[in-house]
């Protein structure tokens, strides 16, 4: 397991622990049967998502020094992709009361930011940027933790994991960069009714491991994600 993935898993467990940590005392106060959807139920959801940013690293505009001269940097850049809010939509299918599968789309427009400094001819430090359009088309397996339900069974924690296709477009769709995405995390569904047709809300936190797409390094990177959605089942 690579260092990046190991770190990702640690973050994932931490996120899950946070969810179950909140859940545990509540579960003790409000025991009850979990409100799980029956097999064959479809579940659609839509809402917002916050996707974390990541560092791309520093890169200097270096010239080859003449004999007797030291290395020459015309200027230096510090590159990062900023966190961004976006939207997400999912369609799920309940296979068993505890298990469902779902497919979804996440769309965000993060800012790629370049801090330019140390110009050899004293140009003032500045920040230049562009907006990326980031799409993740993914599939997930969701496992509902019926035994940890609380709130009279209306609040059902879950864990999820899956993989997807990452597609990132630079401004004006000038360039497309593609990659793979793997994700894991946990969350909570709160139902406002019973039966096959009902509505609810869903919150989740997790990690997204990206392999490819817009990056300076040929390595996987990990970004945290937090989302919230409205759910409708039928």
């Amino acid at each position: 397991m690579s260092r990046a993935i190991l770190h990702a898993c640690s973050v994932g467990l931490a996120a899950l622990a946070l969810v179950t940590g909140v859940v545990a005392p509540a579960m003790a106060q409000s025991p009850g049967a979990a409100s799980l959807s029956p097999p064959g139920t479809w579940e659609v959801s839509g809402g917002g998502v916050l996707v974390g940013g990541y560092q791309l690293g520093e890169r200097a505009a270096e010239l080859t020094p003449n004999s007797g001269s030291t290395g020459f940097e015309q200027f230096t850049t510090d590159n990062r992709v900023r966190p961004a809010f976006g939207v997400q939509a999912r369609v799920g299918f309940v296979v068993t009361p505890a298990l469902s599968v779902e497919g979804g789309l996440r769309f965000t427009r993060p800012l790629y930011e370049v801090r330019v400094s140390g110009d050899a001819e004293d140009a003032p430090d500045t920040t230049v940027e562009e907006k990326l359009s980031q799409y993740v088309f993914d599939g997930s397996v969701v496992w509902h933790l019926a035994g940890a339900a609380f709130g009279g069974g209306r609040a059902v924690p879950f864990v999820f994991g899956g993989a997807g296709y990452l597609r990132e477009l630079h401004e004006e769709d000038a360039l497309v960069e593609e990659g793979l995405e793997y994700h894991a995390g946990g969350g909570l569904k709160w139902w406002f009714g019973d039966g096959r047709r009902r509505v609810g809300v869903r919150g989740e936190a997790g990690i997204s491991i990206r392999d490819g797409g817009f990056d300076f390094k040929d390595a996987q990177r990990v970004v945290p994600t937090v989302g919230g959605s409205l759910i409708y089942t039928f």
Binding site: T77, V114, D119, D122, V128, E172, L175
Partner: protein, 332 residues
């Protein structure tokens, strides 16, 4: 068909010869209302070597170094060029004899010119008909593998001059300092920078991104056109075009630098041969070399502005161009 000879030189401290240039990175000639890039239309380029050596470098060693320099240009991916060494001749370079001759000449009057390239072109279409290169014997030369102590490296200077022979003009990707009435290079990131590194330095045996972008712009294959892109736009000051601004595209992912110039009073510039990806653009006045190293004497160059970065990252598409970039500079 009309012909005209041109001369380009690489210098020790300062340029001694005026250099006509019609386009950024590339040499060009006016054909009606347009500029035609100078280029060879027939390959291989057949060249001869003058059968004479200098102290420390035999004619054979000289020929081997020149051939290695040609090979370095040939090795650029996605271009179509080739050359053939035909043989040694008694004729010196710089004779309008229809043959491409490379060799030594003594030019004590040009005490800041290490080497120079002439060529004869068909001004109706920019076709290069003949090109000669001379190396000035007043300087000490070496072909030693690790470079000769206190001697100029034949292969490095040949790589620069062959760049001219193939149609490239000078690059401004370098920093200099004034010294003893001339200029000394502090650092450069293009073999085609007009001022040579100091004696013993062999860093210019390898092409840089700027050189590769330039040669690919002239001789690129369809693969090059499909895989690389360009940035075009204007440099303006108070709403008016800035002519002769040096615009550099920096790829923060790869660290590569490729430069170009705004070439008309409207401030228009094009930088081609860029790898797809994000680029940071920087415009600077042309103040690290004699202006005549890059442009004709009658080409007005505006150097009264501050170094400026374009406020947006510019993404270069694969096989296309990003247009309408406007870099707004302010007067000093």
């Amino acid at each position: 068909m009309t012909r005209r000879s041109r001369i380009l030189a690489v210098t020790v401290l300062a340029l001694a010869l005026a250099v006509p240039a019609g386009a950024y990175l590339k040499l060009g000639t006016r054909v009606g209302n347009r500029t035609e890039s100078l280029r060879w239309r027939q390959f291989p380029v057949r060249y001869f070597i003058t059968d004479s050596g200098v102290a420390g470098v035999t004619a054979m060693q000289f020929q081997a170094a020149v051939t290695r320099a040609f090979s370095t240009w040939h090795a650029v991916e996605n271009i179509q060029i080739s050359s053939t060494f035909v043989g040694f001749v008694q004729a010196p370079p710089f004779v309008d004899d229809g043959a491409n001759v490379i060799g030594y000449l003594s030019r004590p009057g040009q005490d800041r010119t290490l080497a120079a390239t002439t060529f004869t072109v068909d001004e109706t279409d920019g076709r290069i008909l003949e090109s000669d290169i001379f190396f000035n014997t007043i300087f000490p030369w070496s072909t030693a593998e690790a470079g000769g102590t206190d001697r100029y490296d034949v292969e490095s200077i040949a790589l620069h001059e062959i760049g001219h022979l193939l149609g490239l003009s000078h690059s401004a990707l370098g920093e200099t300092e004034l010294i003893g009435g001339g200029r000394r290079v502090i650092a450069a990131e293009a073999v085609m920078f007009p001022i040579a590194f100091t004696r013993g330095n062999i860093a210019d045996r390898s092409l840089k991104a700027d050189d590769i972008a330039g040669i690919s712009d002239i001789y690129g294959t369809t693969t090059f056109s499909r895989e690389f892109g360009s940035i075009s736009g204007r440099v303006t000051k108070s709403g008016r075009g800035v002519q002769g601004a040096h615009v550099v595209a920096f790829n923060p992912k790869t660290g590569k630098l490729v430069g170009g110039f705004s070439l008309n009073p409207n401030g228009d510039f094009v930088i081609a041969g860029l790898e797809p990806g994000p680029h940071v653009l920087r415009a600077e006045p042309l103040d690290d070399g004699d202006v005549t190293s890059f442009f004709d004497d009658d080409f007005d160059v505006d150097v009264d502005f501050r170094v400026t970065f374009y406020e947006r990252v510019v993404a270069v598409p694969r096989g296309g161009g990003t247009r309408d970039v406007e870099i707004k500079v302010t007067a000093k």
